[in-house]
Amino acid sequence: MHPPNHDPDRPELDETPPLLGTWNRIYLVVIATLFAQILLYAWITWQFAP
């Protein structure tokens, strides 16, 4: 049974992402980017500490 606002023309929910093949890989890139930034900021904090 469909929900009340169901629209048959809307696309399927689980599409493959246009990059990297799977969503998990894209999420990993987001986390890796954050981790790389934190490393950079740690270096900046240490390098330019008063």
Partner: protein
């Protein structure tokens, strides 16, 4: 502002507003008006999400905050990428599957009508007030610095936003936000280039960063566990995560942005685009503030950046006291400048002992200068309490823009600030109008009207909320510390709202009554903490959310199985 500045400001504003109107001209049905016809691609969604979050005060306050306090504010956003991932995995598919217009429709499907009303009501109260502040906060600063009348400034910002939001709906909001974000990014980049160019020739970017670091402005990370410290790595990654989850996952002004996507994929990519770019963007804005700080180590800044407040004290019996502080400040600044130059020369010589000695001398001279600035601030706040209504830090960047940037660029930067105000306000009005129509009007007052009727009523409610925001912005100057109060108000409610949604998403066996009572207990506890403790406001999000989940689990038996 010169004629060239006015030309740049008016031309960019007119071009963007006309573009938004042209892209959305003609009749729109309800899906087109409230969800942009589900046509938007991820770059537009991503920029729209960023533009909604970045208000004018972001561009006025953040550089000033770095000037006064350094870079540590960036930690506030460390939880955001994780929140974007959680929303992409769990929340976006649910909203798409149920084909909702608002986040609160989902609460009725999951619980019952009272939970939908509770969620929508909390949103309307909180965002209705915030929309007024989004207009008022930059208007009071621009009006005071540029000499514009406050009411006219409020009215112009508000009227332009109402015009294009009402005429084009969600699509107009997103299309104009895309253009506005481009102007904002170009404007900030140009400002950064000019600051670097205007540093003394012997000061490299490395020297500038070292000067800022010596005075504690490059303190990006703080791993301390002090719960009263507002910005630490831990508060950012936990409190920031909950705040972002609540804001992006349950606040209609953001939900409406990604529900206008062409598919789940486009919405997810838009959110993840924000997850990757938000922190570097904030870092860049803060670093611009640090560069302004270094610039003012070589060019004497005013003793107090809120020039109108400073001038008002010069015509009173306290002028002698102020003049004495100014004289001592001039001498202290000259010493500080010489110490900064000595430190730069020592760095270039590479002699470690000399570097350390000149660094200590520089730090001591800066302490003296800072003490005099602080004394001046206290004197002004004591004798001219009106000056307390906006923080001095909010005036630093705009002061720099007006006094140090060339003609044309000033107009561009004023456009940046106005566009940031307009883009946030447009999303808020769009979401307020939508929630009022979908969750109250269509749900309980007139459920079986035509599409055309609901589009007309949506426009009418968007105008109504625009007028509410404008009225609030006009009367805001009558109240003290209003901006701070509204910001805290948001934090107080977000934890509870997030708790309700988390129970709805992940604890499927818990029913409406248990969640409703748990939400009331959580809200009362957070309010109690606000009035009785000094807990940093980011932690309210964690506490409120945790209490809702805990008591909802505890009270689970009070709901009949059929209600769950």
């Amino acid at each position: 502002m010169t004629q060239l500045d006015w030309l740049v400001l008016l031309a960019t504003t007119a071009a963007i507003v006309l573009y938004g109107w042209w892209k959305t001209r003609g009749h729109q049905d309800m899906n087109a008006y409230l969800r942009g016809g589900n046509e938007l691609k991820w770059p537009t969604i991503g920029l729209s999400i960023m533009a909604t979050q970045a208000s004018a005060i972001t561009f006025l306050s953040t550089p000033g905050q770095a000037y006064e306090d350094g870079m540590r504010f960036v930690q506030f956003y460390f939880g955001l990428p994780f929140a974007m991932i959680v929303i992409s995995i769990f929340i976006v598919p649910i909203y798409y599957k149920l084909n909702v217009f608002t986040a609160y429709e989902y609460l009725e499907r999951r619980f019952d009508l009272k939970m939908r009303f509770l969620g929508a009501f909390l949103f309307l109260i909180q965002r209705g007030l915030a929309a007024g502040i989004t207009i008022y906060a930059p208007a009071i600063i621009l009006a005071s610095v540029m000499g514009w009348p406050l009411h006219i400034t409020n009215l112009v910002i508000g009227a332009i936003v109402i015009l294009y939001t009402v005429s084009g709906g969600t699509k107009a909001v997103s299309q104009t936000q895309k253009q506005q974000m481009v102007v904002i990014m170009v404007g900030m980049f140009v400002a950064a280039l000019i600051i670097v160019y205007r540093l003394p020739p012997n000061v490299s970017l490395g020297d500038a960063t070292a000067l800022a670091g010596a005075l504690g402005r490059m303190n990006v990370l703080d791993f301390g566990f002090d719960l009263n410290n507002r910005y630490t790595f831990w508060s950012g990654i936990t409190g920031g995560f909950f705040l972002a989850l609540s804001y992006f996952g349950t606040d209609q002004s953001q939900v409406q942005r990604y529900l206008s996507g062409r598919s789940v994929t486009e919405s997810r990519l838009g959110l993840l685009f924000n997850g990757i770019l938000k922190i570097p963007m904030q870092f860049a804005i803060l670093y611009i503030g640090v560069l302004v700080f270094v610039f003012y180590l070589f060019v004497k800044p005013p003793i107090f950046f809120n020039s109108p407040a400073l001038r008002s004290l010069q015509n009173t019996p306290h002028a002698a006291q102020l003049n004495d502080l100014q004289r001592r400040y001039d001498l202290a600044f000259a010493k500080q400048k010489a110490a900064a130059n000595a430190f730069v020369k020592a760095r270039q010589s590479g002699n470690t002992a000399h570097i350390q000695a000149t660094k200590r001398a520089f730090q001591q001279s800066a302490q003296h200068t800072n003490a005099l600035r602080k004394s001046t601030r206290l004197l002004i706040y004591d004798k001219h309490p009106q000056a307390k209504k906006s923080k001095e830090a909010d005036y630093i960047f705009i002061y720099f823009v007006i006094h140090m940037l060339p003609a044309g660029i000033v107009g561009l930067l004023i456009a940046v600030i106005l566009f940031a105000a307009m883009s946030s306000t447009a999303s808020e009005l769009n979401a307020l109008g939508t929630t009022t129509v979908i969750d109250f009007y269509r749900r309980s007052i007139r459920p079986n009207e035509s599409d055309r009727h609901y589009v007309f009523v949506s426009k009418a409610f968007t105008v109504f909320w625009g007028l509410v925001a404008l009225s609030f912005a006009s009367f805001a100057s009558l109240l003290d510390n209003l901006i701070e109060a509204v910001n805290i108000l948001g934090s107080i409610f977000y934890g509870t709202i997030l708790g309700i949604f988390l129970v709805a998403f992940f604890l499927k066996r818990i029913g409406s009554n248990a969640t409703f009572i748990a939400a009331l207990i959580a809200q009362a506890t957070v309010l109690f903490l606000y009035f009785t403790s000094s807990l940093g406001f980011l932690w309210y999000n964690v506490v409120g959310c945790a209490i809702v989940v805990f008591f909802a689990l505890l009270l689970k038996p009070i709901d009949k199985p059929s209600n769950a």
